[in-house]
């Protein structure tokens, strides 16, 4: 990415959505707990390839990397994650309603 041609730097500043702040928090907590490292975070980001920078937002890439690191660490299994994501989706169709009541 560094050195590629690109458009003007966009200057609009947005506040982060709550879910994005939580992703950030979970990455910090996972690092403090020794479950992943900054290198691990970046390694998965690199593995995603350039397409991911076009198709996913910043914290979407982060949560994908967090997940990959935790799966590799054995913190939870693919089956556990899949089952939980189905549960979450069944609770509601917006971020707010999908929280555990």
């Amino acid at each position: 990415m560094g050195g590629n041609a690109a458009e003007r730097v966009p200057r609009d500043d947005y506040d982060f959505a709550l879910w994005e702040k939580r992703v950030d928090a979970l990455v910090m907590i996972a690092q403090a707990a020794g479950l992943m490292t900054v290198d691990g975070l970046r390694r998965v980001l690199e593995d995603m390839g350039e397409d991911a920078f076009e198709t996913m937002t910043y914290y979407e890439r982060w949560v994908a990397s967090l997940n990959q690191n935790l799966l590799e660490e054995g913190t939870y299994t693919v089956a556990e994650l899949g089952a939980r994501m189905r549960d979450v989706r069944a609770r509601g169709d917006t971020y707010g309603t999908a929280q555990r009541g």
Binding site: M1, G2, G3, N4, A5, A6, E7, R8, V9, P10, R11, D12, D13, Y14, D15, F16, A17, L18, W19, E20, K21, R22, V23, D24, A25, L26, M28, I29, A30, A33, T37, V38, R42, L45, E46, M56, Y58, Y59, E60, V63, A64, L66, N67, L70, T75, Y76, L81, R84, M85, D87, V88, R89, G92, D93, T94, Y95, T97, A98, Q99, R100
Partner: protein, 216 residues
Amino acid sequence: MPHDGHDPLSPSGHPYRPDQDEPLTYWQCMEIAIRELLVEKGVTTDAAIRAQVQTMDDRGPAQGARVVARAWADPDFHHRLRSDGSAACRELGIEVGPMKLIAVSNTPDLHNVVVCTLCSCYPRNLLGLPPDWYKSREYRSRTVREPRAVLREFGTTLPEGVAVRVHDSTADMRYLVVPMRPDGTEGWTEGALAACVTRDAMIGVAQAAHPKSDGI
């Protein structure tokens, strides 16, 4: 500009991202699932996650401004900051974490600017969360390719003969730019000096605010 009166503003005054109240996305769903699993497995607690989010909300560029103001006021501190940034910050009670902090100082002949071409490595404990543009593809791509053009977009036009040095952050190091102390600030207290030190100046896309022209 996003401040057009149509977007609901968050407490910070910035509009929420457009997708805030859209249908639940796959990645939001994943965040909820991971968070719940980490709590259930005893890795963390809901309270700890809330506290971490709060810490993030509270963090801003004030700590970095204190460090720069001290460097301006105390040449010996400036020297120590340049030889071991993390240790010098610790003198002020600021813990920059496990990363190595490298302070780079602007001079009349040299201007420093910081980028992270891979992701958005940034001295958060000193500057708060990085602004959106710092994370943008455009900034990360172009700053190493045409830094002077990027700086001009930020209103920073450097005289010919001033060298530009671009620093690309890595996983292990964080950069802090010590901008040049503005003229006309002789004898100022560190608190008054800190008011001249903006986030953008510490990233290197701007100069320190000038007390006369910027109305401080």
